[in-house]
Each structure stands twice: as C-alpha cells, then as structure tokens.
C-alpha cells in the first residue's frame, strides 16, 4: 500500500515537476524512440492486476494481453520481447505518468474517448480489445439484470469510464445506487468479496478472472448478461511523437494481419519464404516496411516469432489455453465477423 502511494505520488509529482522544468519546446525527431534505444528497454504502464490483461504470476512475471502488446513493441523496436519494464498503475496514475514521460506507452485496459484523445495530449493506437461495462453480483441477491440493481451499492475504480457509464445507465433507467470508489484494485475487489458492495463493475472482460480466482466459491457470483457501453481498449502514447505513435499502430496491425494470413510464431520461419506479397512485405527477409518506421527489416518477423499473432495472444490470455475460456465475441478478425481489421502493410 505504501509502495503504491509512493508510485502515485511520484507519478503525479513527476508530471507536475516535468511540466515545470521541461524546456518549452523539443525537436520532433522521435524523442521516445531515442530514449527507448538509449535505455535499452521500454517502460510500459500496465494494470495493477486484472486477469487476462495484466497480472503478475507467482514468479512476479507479468502476463496478459496488454502485457503481450508491450512485448510486441519491444520485439519490434529493441529486438527482444523481454526488454520491457512493467510499471503497474492505478486508473488515476496512468495519464499523468504517460504525459510526464514516466512511461513510454500505456497498455492498461484504457478506453479511448474523445476527451481523452483530444484534451489529455495523448494519441491512441487501434483498439486491441473491445469490451463494455459489466456487472458482477452475488447470486444470493437474486439480481439477474441491471433493473434489479435498484438501491445497490457498487464498487468501482475511480477515474474509470465505468464510473461514468454506471451513472449514465442508472440515470437512464431511473434507478438509484451508491458508488464505493476505491483506487487500489485489490482493495476494490476485496471490498466486493467482503460484501461491502452488492455489485462490482468494470470492463466485462475483466470480471471472469476475478470470479474465477478471487471468489471463495465462483458459483456464488453471476456476471450479468449484456454489455452496457462501448469500451474500445487501446494503447496510449504521447501526442507530438508521430514516429512512436506509428510504431505502436503498425505493431498492433502486424498481430491482426499475421492472424489473417495464417502466420503464427510456429510457422513464421517458413512463411518468410512465402510468395504472397502481403506476407513478403510484412515478415519477408529484407522487407523495407520497417525502415519507413525507423526500424530494421525484421521488425514484424520478431513480433510474430516472439509474441505471436492476435489469435495466439488471445488464446493464451482469454481463450481455450487460459483458465478463463472466454469466447472471442467481437474480438475476432473482420473476415470472421469481428471488429479486428488490420490495415495493409505495404
């Protein structure tokens, strides 16, 4: 808890000090890229602990979909997906930390909204996950839909889009609730399971993990059907560094396109010799696509080789190869009726 407070204070103080002290202008030739190369690792802001997205395992190694995107960027930029330093952040810390340069990229279940895009001085890559506000209740309350939640106490993280979505949703249904807003993720989840709250609300994709791993008896809890908002989660970077923004964007597309063209971490070495120009331009030997981003020619090859395509990333963290076994839903390729659409890499 102390450490957490310290991180938060450093984040905010760092930001404030940063804007006070930084020189009023800077050169536009990829400051983030230069800093990352000099440092030899990427500072990636991730969630404090959300199953499927980012959670430290028993060895303290971070795992999750958000984590895999940090690794993908490290593989493309530094040549090694392990050259990432994960910095766990609360919902309140994340934006000041990114703005102040404490982290290079924010891969932390962050919903893109107009306000965040336009007034925080940030840019967001293509969504890496689509979800919406979800609710988990104890079955003993007999609630099965949102309308049953009148008068409920709801645990929620501060400064999240969820906080606003609930307010809007309950208002539209003319029902009341009482928010309990706790910044520390563990404390917030703990408050729900100790029955301080009747309901826990967060991005729906985050709920099954808590149900499975944090509940004494997972069967006592129910995730309400339905998704109650649009939450496109994407990687955030600072505005004004177009090169870095482009890298984030195209590394994300590599994972989509690799799935579309059937390139996996297992077969990427053979696929390098494929005659398909789409594949050649992406992972082929000596392709010039990386150069245009300021990277070398093996950038996309390393992303697929070391981290995998989107399907592999999803299956590992949410799908059949994970304990969560969450169906992909809209997080499928456009060719399968989903929302993932990788722009052409050429």
């Amino acid at each position: 808890m102390y450490q957490q407070k310290a991180v938060k204070i450093t984040a905010i103080a760092g930001f404030v000090a940063g804007v006070f002290m930084a020189a009023p202008s800077y050169a536009a030739d990829g400051p983030t890229m230069a800093a990352v190369k000099k440092r030899g690792e990427i500072l990636c802001g991730v969630h404090q602990g959300r199953y499927g997205f980012a959670i430290a395992d028993s060895q303290g190694k971070y795992k999750g979909l958000d984590v895999d995107f940090c690794r993908a960027v490290a593989a493309a930029v530094l040549g090694d997906s392990e050259k990432v330093k994960y910095i766990p952040m609360s919902s309140v810390q994340r934006f000041p930390a990114l703005q102040s340069g404490e982290i290079d990229m924010l891969s932390r279940t962050t919903t893109v909204t107009l306000t965040r895009d336009a007034s925080l001085g940030l840019n967001f890559g293509p969504p890496t996950f689509y979800t919406g506000t979800g609710f988990m209740v104890r079955k003993s309350t007999n609630a099965t839909k949102v309308d049953d939640l009148d008068g409920a106490t709801i645990c929620v993280l501060p400064g999240s889009t969820t906080e606003k979505n609930i307010a809007a949703l309950f208002k539209s249904k003319s029902i009341t609730y009482k928010p309990v807003v706790i910044e520390n993720q563990k404390a917030m989840v703990g408050a729900y399971f100790s029955e301080r709250c009747d309901v826990m609300s967060m991005d729906q994709a985050g709920l099954p993990g808590h149900q499975m791993f944090d509940a004494k008896n997972p069967d006592d809890h129910l995730i309400l059907d339905g998704v109650f908002s649009k939450e496109p989660l994407a990687i955030g970077v600072r505005q004004g560094d177009d090169q870095w923004y482009d890298i984030i964007k195209w590394v994300t597309y590599v994972t989509f396109n690799a799935e579309e063209y059937g390139i996996t971490s297992a077969n990427v070495d053979e696929m390098r010799n494929s005659k398909d120009p789409n594949i050649q331009l992406m992972v082929g030997k000596g392709t010039k696509t990386g150069e245009k981003l300021g990277l070398d020619s093996d950038w996309a090859y390393r992303v697929v080789k070391q981290v995998g395509n989107y399907k592999e990333i999803y299956e590992r963290n949410f799908g059949e190869k994970s304990p969560l076994k969450l169906p992909r839903g809209v997080n499928k390729l456009w060719t399968d009726g989903g929302l993932l659409y990788g722009f052409p890499i050429k």
């Binding site: 808890m1 102390y2 407070k5 905010i12 930001f15 404030v16 940063g18 804007v19 006070f20 002290m21 930084a22 009023p24 202008s25 800077y26 919902s91 309140v92 994340r94 934006f95 000041p96 703005q99 306000t115 965040r116 336009a118 007034s119 925080l120 001085g121 309350t141 939640l149 009148d150 008068g151 409920a152 106490t153 501060p158 400064g159 906080e163 606003k164 609930i166 307010a167 809007a168 208002k171 609730y177 009482k178 928010p179 309990v180 807003v181 706790i182 910044e183 520390n184 404390a187 917030m188 703990g190 408050a191 100790s194 029955e195 301080r196 009747d198 600072r238 505005q239 004004g240």
Partner: protein
C-alpha cells in the same frame, strides 16, 4: 557607546556625525521615522531597518519572478504537449456519482459541485475528528496524571501503542475492520432502530417537522441568554463578592426553552426508521464504514498526541500554585477551573493547534479506503479531465485555506487565554 558620543561638531564632520546619530537612533528606536536627521545614501544603506526592507523587497521580487517563470513554463509546456489547460472544466458536467454528500448532488452536476461535495466531506470528517480527538485526548491525558493505578497504566499504554503506529495503518485497519462486519441481512442491532453492518451505522432519525426549526431557534436564544447571565453573574461577584448560582439556571434555560417550544406544538415526533428492503436498509440515516473507519483512525491517532500535550500542560502548573489556592480555601472544583486549567491551557493550546492541522491533512488518507473526500473526488476529476495541474492546485489551495482558518481561530483563542501581563 553612550548618548554623549553623538554630540559632535556639525561643521567639520557632518557625514560621520549624522551617520553616528543615525546609528544611535537605530539602537534606541530601531526604525527611524521619516524626516528624522538628515539622510544620505551610505547612512541609509547601513540602516538595519532600510536594509531589512530592501532584502524583503528583493526576495519578493525573486519569488514573483520565479513564480512567473514557472507559470509561463507550465502553460507553454502543456500547450506544446496538447494538454488542455485552465479551469473551464469546472463548469462541465461531472458525469460520476459520489457515495455520500451533504448537499444535493447528481452525476449531471458540474465538477465544481463535485469538488464542493468533496470539500464538505473533508470538513465533516475533520471537524468530527477534531472534536472527538480533543475529548478522547483530554480524557486520556487527565487519566495519565491520575493517581488511580489502572487509569494511569491503561492511558500510558494507549498513548504508546497509538502514537507509535503510522496513521495510514490506523486508517486501513479500521477501514478493513468495518468492511468485514456482517452484511445487511445479518446486521448487529444496537438498540431500537440502530443497525451496524458492513454498509455502515444506520440509525433512525426524527422525521422533519417545521416546529424543529423553532426548537433550534429557542436553543439559540437560550444559549445567548445563558452567556449574558454568566457575564452578569461574574460582574455581580466582582462587585459584591457573592457567587450567584449559575449551573442550575443555565441548565434550566437550555433545556426548558426548547422543550417549551416543542410542547407548544404538542411534542410532534415521528421516527424515520430504517427498514431492510432489497439490497439494503432504506430510510433512517447512515454513516458509511469509510467515514467511520477514517474518523476512528485519525481520531485515535491524534488523541494519542493530544493526551501527551494535555498531560504536559497539567504537569507544567507548579505545585505551589495549587497549594496556594488550597491555602486560600478554594474548593477543589474551583482550583481546577480557576487555577490549573487556565495555566495548563497556555501550554496546551499551541501544540494542539498543530495536531488539529495534521488531523485535517491526514483526513486525505480517506482515499485509501474509499471515503469520498476532497482528494478522492479530486483524483477522479483529475483523471476524468486529465487536468492534473489544475486539480492538484485546487486541492492544495483548499487544504491551505482550511489549515490557515484553523490556525487563525486557534491563534485568536490562544491570545484570549494567554497570560495577561499588566
């Protein structure tokens, strides 16, 4: 140097003479008034008063220049990073709800109102904390000097345990403790219409009746009358040496007048009793576990310090004072009231002021357990709007204002009880 040294010959060494006279003036008056002696530049520079003003002016200029430089830097940096600036966001709709609020608040209200809710919550918990910490600390402090073995040992154990554990842990401990009470269905029933569960302390409150406003007014009138009577009694004693009865008449006034008004309305009393329905109790009044946890945490912690201050204050009164009072034949109650307490307060009040200040600032730890105080609402605002500099500036300013106000009132009180030198 004596005054005689300043007598010098005007024609021959005018400059030295005036500067010498000036120096002598300085010794005796420190700040020479305008038009005194004849000024010259060196003498002005050597005057400690003038130099003091110059240093102050230079420092002020430096501070202002630094402030301006920082402000300019912040604005241009935020602009170049494309981050919104200014306080315009305060008028925007906040869009989030707040768990507990003293004023009507709804997610459609503005950020300004949301912050006001946070400020009021901070003030509530701080005011309750100050009152309770003073009571508890005072009690424990008196027990510390008690001759009763158990009282003395218990209170010193309390002080040592409480003030040697960080306040953060106090707050987290009580927050977690209350959160792990049984749920609403299994709540503890503490008497009629009072329930304690992990949703907080829920109790019945009288339903509003217009007569209550008049009862309140009657209480106010009785209070004023009591004060006036007390002053009259004191003057009477000073004039005649005879003590008028004060306790009974004051009590009679304070209870009788409001009761009379209440009776004139026929004793209307309708209880709003909490009833379990759906998820939770409806009706009645609620103190949330976050509020209670934070309040207990900061109160107990600060009470440990206040207890030591009170003990020091009582022990600072020389024994001779009390013995003298006794030999004058004063009653023990009067000795406490007129001899011990006034002298002890002089020692107690200044350090207690700083305890009040730290209690108020420690209330910001409510954010750890989810009490919607200024920092909690400020953090949400900061994150929803992304305007960290403004949000933090608002929080800092508010805490500064609250602290300065507490200091002001405590300083006034301190002056009122300070030793009156004649």
């Amino acid at each position: 140097m004596t005054l005689a040294d300043t007598r010098c010959v005007p024609q021959s060494r005018q400059d030295d003479c005036s500067s010498m006279a000036q120096q002598t003036e300085d010794r005796f008056k420190v700040s020479p008034g305008p038009g005194m002696a004849s000024f010259s530049l060196p003498s002005l520079l050597y005057s400690s008063a003038v130099r003091g003003v110059l240093y102050q002016a230079a420092l002020l200029l430096l501070v202002v220049a630094c402030g301006y430089y920082l402000y300019e830097n912040v604005t241009s940096n935020l602009e170049s990073q494309g981050i919104a600036t200014g306080f315009g966001f305060l008028d925007e709709s906040a869009g989030f709800d707040i768990g507990e609020s003293l004023i009507a608040y709804d997610s459609a209200n503005t950020y300004a109102r949301a912050l006001a809710v946070g400020i009021l919550n901070t003030l509530t918990v701080s005011a309750c904390g100050i009152a309770l910490a003073t009571l508890l600390g005072g009690m424990i402090g008196i027990m510390r000097v008690s001759t009763n073995w158990f009282a003395a040992k218990f209170s010193s154990a309390f002080v040592e345990v409480v003030r040697n554990v960080p306040v953060v842990l106090h707050v987290i401990f009580w927050g977690a403790f209350l959160r792990n009470l049984p749920g609403p269905r299994q709540s503890f029933s503490l008497g009629d219409g009072v329930f304690l569960n992990n949703r907080g302390l829920i109790f019945a409150v009288p339903e509003y009746n217009p007569i209550y406003a008049w009862v309140g007014a009657a209480l106010l009138v009785a209070l004023c009358a009591s004060i006036a009577y007390g002053r009259y009694a004191m003057r009477h004693r000073e004039k005649t040496g005879r003590q008028l009865p004060t306790v009974l008449p004051v009590l009679a006034m304070l209870t009788g007048l409001p009761l009379l008004v209440w009776a004139s309305g026929g004793f209307p009393l309708q209880w709003d009793t909490p009833v379990f329905r759906g998820f939770n109790f409806r009706g009645g009044s609620l103190l949330s576990p976050e509020f209670i946890g934070l309040l207990i945490g900061i109160t107990v912690y600060t009470a440990g310090f206040i207890a030591e201050i009170v003990r020091a204050g009582i022990q600072s009164v020389p024994r001779g004072q009390i013995e003298a009072a006794r030999s004058l034949g004063l009653r023990p109650g009067w000795i406490m009231r007129y001899v011990t307490i006034p002298q002890a307060l002089r020692v107690i009040v200044p350090p207690t002021t700083s305890q009040y200040l730290s209690l108020t600032k420690n209330s910001s730890l409510g954010v750890l357990i989810g009490y919607p105080d200024l920092v909690n609402v400020g953090n949400t605002t900061l994150n929803q709007t992304g305007q960290a500099v403004e949000a933090i500036a608002i929080m800092m300013t508010v805490y500064l204002l609250i602290s300065l106000t507490i200091s002001l009132f405590m300083n006034i009180y301190n002056q009122a009880i300070a030793l009156k030198e004649r």
